[in-house]
């Protein structure tokens, strides 16, 4: 039996790696991939607590997270395509119209 704390520590490490990628990467596509990493860390936490408590609610939550991740990927990639078409770049540093 592996203690649940190990799974939770792995989820924390994975979430922090995703957050680091979101904060430091310049390519918008890689930023989206790091958001997927963070969503997976959340899923891992849900499933760990479901296993600890022995009920299925965590599994249902993980399903919903996966569905929301699919919706987010579709919308986000469509926005990336639209931005690339109008500006010719997917670097987040080049998209600063709303800063001024």
């Amino acid at each position: 039996m592996v203690p649940i704390t190990y799974y939770l520590l792995l989820a924390a490490a994975l979430f922090c790696m995703g957050m680091f990628g979101v904060l430091v990467r310049r390519n918008a596509l890689v930023v989206f991939m790091c958001v997927e990493l963070m969503l997976n860390a959340a899923n891992l936490t849900f499933l760990s607590f479901a296993r600890m408590r022995g009920d299925s609610i965590g599994h249902v939550s993980a399903f919903f997270v996966i569905a929301v991740a699919a919706a987010e990927a579709a919308i986000g990639l469509a926005i990336v395509i639209a931005v690339f078409r109008s500006r010719g770049s997917v670097l987040v540093e080049d998209i600063r119209t709303m800063k001024h």
Binding site: M1, V2, I4, T5, Y6, Y7, L8, L9, L10, A12, A13, L14, F15, C16, M17, M19, F20, G21, L23, V24, R25, R26, N27, L29, V30, F32, M33, C34, E36, L37, N40, N43, L44, L47, R51, M52, G54, S56, I57, H59, V60, A62, F63, I66, A67, V68, A69, A70, A71, A74, I75, L77, A78, I79, V80, I81, A82, F84, R85, V90
Partner: protein, 168 residues
């Protein structure tokens, strides 16, 4: 040293290595490939947690559908490698510091978690995590959220088409 702990250690190590490759790979294609392998190893960890159904959905939906979408967009945009290796700006240093701080807080919190069952999971029923028991829960207790998520996916699909098409 039992087999479950060894499997968990191997999957956890491979997951973290692949996640690091996602962050530090130079071309987006390599990042996407590393993300696919991350999802596979995470599916292995989900199986260790008795979440077989979620592991199958992870491989089918995440590693299959969503990553195909990512790869398709990367191919469509025809991006090369990043022109410059990122130099450490103030924003990046602040991001790294924030990440380390969050990790420290999370680890301290998790280590102080009340160990009600000695940190070892309870013995679940034999039907725990099977597709039949999950379907029973989803289609009775969680039917409305399930339908709401299907509506969300429909809206996202229509929205993606509207945003990405070149002209009406």
């Amino acid at each position: 040293m039992n087999i479950e702990l060894i499997l968990f250690g191997a999957f956890a190590l491979l997951t973290l290595l692949s996640a690091g490759l996602v962050i530090f790979a130079r071309s987006p294609i390599n990042s996407a490939m590393a993300l696919v392998s991350t999802f596979f190893f995470l599916a292995g960890i989900y199986v260790l947690l008795w979440a077989h159904t979620v592991a199958v959905v992870q491989v089918l939906v995440y590693a299959g559908a969503i990553m195909v979408l990512f790869l398709f967009v990367i191919m469509l945009l025809n991006l090369g490698e990043s022109p410059t290796r990122g130099r450490p700006t103030l924003a990046r240093l602040a991001g790294g510091a924030a990440t380390v701080g969050l990790l420290a807080v999370l680890v301290i919190t998790l280590l102080k978690l009340p160990q009600t069952t000695g940190g070892v999971p309870v013995e679940a029923q034999a039907t725990f995590g099977t597709m039949a028991s999950l379907g029973q829960v989803i289609f009775t207790q969680w039917l409305f959220p399930f339908e709401a998520v299907s509506l969300l996916l429909l809206v996202a699909m229509v929205g993606a088409v509207v945003v990405a098409k070149s002209r009406i």
